[in-house]
Subunit: 311 residues, 2 copies
Amino acid sequence: MPNLVDALRVDLCAIILAVTDGTPRILTIRPTDARATVADTLPWGPLDPRTDRTLERTLRSWVARQSRLSLGYVEQLYTFDEGRAGEGLRRISVTYLALVQEQAVSQAGAGWRNVYAFFPWEDWREGRPPVIDHAILPALNTWLARLSDCQQAEQERERVEIHFGVNGVPWVPERVLDRYELLYQAGLIPEAGAAPHPAFGQAMALNHRRVVATALSRLRGKIKYRPVVFELLPPRFTLWQLQQVAEALTGMSLHKQNFRRLVEQGGLVASTGAFAYDTGGRPAQLFRFRRRVLRERPAPGVGLPSGVRDS
Amino acid sequence: MPNLVDALRVDLCAIILAVTDGTPRILTIRPTDARATVADTLPWGPLDPRTDRTLERTLRSWVARQSRLSLGYVEQLYTFDEGRAGEGLRRISVTYLALVQEQAVSQAGAGWRNVYAFFPWEDWREGRPPVIDHAILPALNTWLARLSDCQQAEQERERVEIHFGVNGVPWVPERVLDRYELLYQAGLIPEAGAAPHPAFGQAMALNHRRVVATALSRLRGKIKYRPVVFELLPPRFTLWQLQQVAEALTGMSLHKQNFRRLVEQGGLVASTGAFAYDTGGRPAQLFRFRRRVLRERPAPGVGLPSGVRDS
DNA sequence: ACCCTTTATGCTCAACCCTAGTATAAGTGA
DNA sequence: TCACTTATACTAGGGTTGAGCATAAAGGGT
């Protein structure tokens, strides 16, 4: 039996998400390597198998070291096999998703980046992004046309339809990862180091863009049955703030009155009695998250996006 | 910087699930170690970082070696930190969930075990399992009573209520893992090697029972928005077979007529024109899964259990 | 004071879906 | 034939959702 404990490293990688002013942002680290055009990375670091206590704790400490952030809500996302790097080192990376309220980061190189800069086709809040019809679908179609195997081409065409909402297929926000992988297989995702493409989004180092896609997929799914949005909000918030966060994550606009009815009748929030006066119009009640809802309802979440836009 | 590539091993672990005659079963391996009362394990094996190509491929080959099964549908489940074993070896295990149709396994030691033998409190198909009120809640209550810190006791009491459906809180099938962890923390889960407890279920080796709990949680959640059940069925099936599989997984009985309407109107199945005559009554149409539903609906799944029982 | 703009919030109607049944169809075996 | 079993059709009532109209309450300008 070969020696299995050599040439193997486990890395921990964090995607830290916040929503400010209706923009979902992730924390990135710009490597201080001044040589080439280095792409941003997510905060990450290796596990020391002898001294580190748990995976999550190690992750937190790497994040603290690289960004001085202390994380609250954290969940494990996915474990990627990175294959063998140059000198034969096998890398496995375990990724985590953290939700925080955006805060200034003083650490050099660390900063917040708009998620939709990496996935321009995912933001439907202003309607179907033109980039889909102008750039993405044409590129996918030429890729399909070049496929020689007819049967496979048909299958891939179906994937395009399903994931990008063509021919009457509805757009499904959660399919972020499927869309990313489709574009990747079609050779349309610029590699790290390449110039950012206005239609296909900014690059990141390593496979970090895939990690972000995984996170967004998971989050868009989870928001519907778990009250995770509240991790991104201050303790007291207006319903409009809540809605903006939900919209920022799902990339969809929601009907304001119905959203209000949903969260209020759903018992997700309770009024604090206080008001916010800086709304520009009538003052808005300040609400707080009602933890008790967890007892009352099986799957409390904020309304699923039906693609409706506020007038 | 310390040498990080020593004393670390990544294991791959599979939970392989099938449903036969309304019983959900998992594939277990009985170690051939004849010494002590060895508990069953799931199929697993270490990753060889130098020769193995991908995590999933390695997993498949371990399963094939230990049970001669060849897996179809496989998804990654969770990555566990197993801590340091005796001699300082740090173990990480990446677990996968596979869905198959049950088939005979000839390999020595391999066999199928009823999932609910490990989690007797999770099967509500015959109504609320008596074991909850007779054994589990009393044991949890004495545990709560012993907690000294009053505030923590209140929090833990709330967890019990939420997860076990006390005081009008609805029973939520997906919370399998939460319930397992609660019982574990309360010291009520027998360790591997202990005699199986009729109320708290059979033991498994290592943390494998936690892995199974994780899998069941995931599956019960996923069944509602993804057509995963069909992986467990033959290509042609009756609606009653389909319902039995759904019930076996969720642990809930469903209203037959409504279930039929749901899957039929939902476009999940299509009639094949053939009939099954061995039903004991009127012959039943044979259906097949309608793959095209993936195009039409955002989240096609089989109806959520509302705890209704067929008369 | 009055009007206009802005945002928050209340309310309604119709379409749709789900729940819990009742009723009927089509086999089997006595 | 009847009794029994399972499959399948249909329906009445309640709840939820989608979409829009209407009103409330602030600020600013005149």
